[in-house]
Amino acid sequence: MENQPVLRLDDIYKDFGETKVLKGISLDILPGEFITLLGPSGCGKTTTLRIIAGLETATRGRVLIDGQDVSSLPPEKRPVNTVFQNYALFPHMNVYNNIAYALTLRREKKEVIREKVTRLLELVQLPGFEKRMPSQLSGGQRQRVAIARALVLEPKILLLDEPLGALDLQLRRQMQVELKTLQEKLKTTFIYITHDQEEALNMSTRIAVMNEGHFEQVGTPEEIYEHPVTRFAASFIGQANILEGVVEEKGEKSRVKLDQGGVIYVNEQIDAGVRVAVSVRAERIDYAAASGFGFQVPGVIERHSYIGGVLRTTIKLTGGQEILITGANPISDYPDGAAIQVFWDPNTAAVVERS
């Protein structure tokens, strides 16, 4: 029972007229997970969330909560609650009535409601705010009220639609920590939407990278970052360099001849003649007069730019492609225009495409 998914998305399609917004997404989410749907705007992440909440009906496919098909249930009958993008607090009710709303609908006893609202306001660190109207609150405070309101029914799953999008960077970082702590304390399953990769990496137990209506990759933050499986997943998160080439020799470490000139090794067995695209993170690349790991990738230093904390170096390969490297050392031994060799540990690169 422990491993029964709390939520299962079973091959969900959604069309809006001619536009195909979701093209068959499936996902199992376990109880207590903090899962993030990460993707650019228009990739279908909000639609996915709305289908889970019941605010939208899937064109095809099923939504199962605790093994029960809820696809045809209206939102009010589903054991999930939502923190909306712009909070959607009831502007005509004070904080107390906003949070109490769901309980009032259920005709709970006054004392029960009072006790629960007080406890929730403490949880989101807004004690004493009962009488305030939403218009009298700051963005961060509204955010907290919206979270408290969505938690009042103790939902199996809490859906959060870019809840931190409207906040400034500092407050956003602080709320990230708070949300994560809150989730760990409540052990509620969180499904979180963002287009901010840092937020996703920071908070999630798993990330689902979305693009054009499908999942590119689902995995832990480490998996997504270190071992992206598609070109999109690699380039959407972090600073990735994508190099294309053809496998020359299969082996424990296969040798790849790059289109841009030079040879590298990848940590995979791939048949000779196969075209591959390799993704390597900017901070994993090294360069020097002499190469390493058997690589032979000549290049010329285009420019260095100091961007605070790290030095970003642009290197032009023989074929003309520029690659980006970030190094913690603010001073480089090599001036602009120096001819160098580029290399990296094959373990830190990932083959993201083969054909």
């Binding site: 909440a53 019941g54 605010l55 209206p74 939102p75 009010e76 999930v80 609650n81 939502t82 909306f84 993008q85 712009n86 959607a88 607090l89 009831f90 502007p91 005509h92 009710m93 009535n97 709303y101 769901a102 009032t104 609908l105 259920r106 309101r149 969505a150 009042v152 029914l153």
Partner: protein
């Protein structure tokens, strides 16, 4: 600095003040004054103070007319609301392009004189009119129905004339509403009906109140509708004032009736605003 700004603002609104003084305040004062004077021998007034015009209204006959007028106004307001609000609601749900077309169609009749439009209704409703002809041709009725010159016809005319004000006013506030708030209430367990009662209705209340005032106030005073559609059988305050001012040539009494109507109208708006001020969740559930 602050003072300079203030005086410049008042300079720009001076024309408005002058206009208001000349065409609203002055005639108003005139009406107030003559309501306390005696009628002239043949026409006009003689400058002699009296309270008779107001005392005369104590006559139950006039009380009945006032009550009837209020009844017509309340009924008209209620019907325009029951028709207008759902109409405005569904217009808001239409795609944007259709929406502006419907609003345009709604405004279009305003470009035609209201008497012409009422005559249109009369052609529809009269005993050898369009509706009766069709009903008879289809054999549904043998005798033409009496559709015109009764209380129902007056209400139809009133609702027709004033419904656009209610619709536009409601439309305005429904259209401005953030639908995410309604979704939030569904998400928190409200049925569509409960969500409407606890969220949509209170949030659009300003539009409803404005619409009710816009309909109620003119419907107390409209006289030509009851003249034309009701065949002058339904005497409302408006009709009474007009008769006193013209046929009966009793200006002071007409003025006193006007004052009474003003007081009643303002009183009702005041009560309305007081009542609609408390639209919290608890009151509605």
């Amino acid at each position: 600095m602050q003072k300079e700004k203030k005086s410049r603002i008042s300079l720009t609104v001076w024309p408005f003040y002058i206009w208001t003084a000349l065409f609203v305040a002055l005639p108003m004062v005139y009406v107030v004054v003559i309501s306390f004077l005696q009628r002239g021998a043949t026409w006009g007034v003689t400058a002699q103070f009296t309270l008779d015009n107001y005392l005369k209204m104590i006559d139950p006959m006039y009380g009945a007319i006032f009550l009837e007028a209020l009844y017509v106004a309340v009924l008209t307001t209620l019907i325009t609301f029951l028709v207008g609000y759902p109409f405005a609601y569904y217009v808001c749900k239409l795609p944007a392009r259709l929406r502006s077309l419907v609003i345009l169609l709604l405004m279009a009749p305003f470009w035609i004189n209201s008497l012409c439009r009422l005559n249109g209704w009369m052609i529809l409703l009269k005993s050898n009119g369009v509706i009766n002809s069709i009903l008879q041709a289809l054999g549904i009725v043998d005798e033409p129905l009496k559709l015109l010159y009764n209380f129902g016809a007056v209400i139809v005319g009133m609702v027709y004339a004033l419904a656009p004000f209610m619709i536009l006013s409601c439309y305005n506030s429904i259209e401005k509403m953030d639908w995410a708030v309604v979704e939030a209430s569904r998400d928190l367990g409200a049925s569509p009906f409960k969500a409407f009662l606890t969220v949509t209705l209170p949030l659009t209340m300003p539009g409803i109140v404005a619409g009710c005032v816009l309909v109620f106030v003119p419907s107390v005073g409209l006289f030509f509708i009851s003249d034309l559609m009701g065949g002058a059988k339904t005497v409302l305050i408006g009709n009474l004032i007009r008769t006193e001012m013209t046929t009966a040539r009793n200006w002071p009494f007409g003025a006193a009736l006007s004052m009474m109507m003003l007081v009643v109208t303002i009183g009702i708006i005041w009560v309305y605003k007081k009542v609609s001020g408390s639209n919290s969740l608890g009151d509605l559930m």
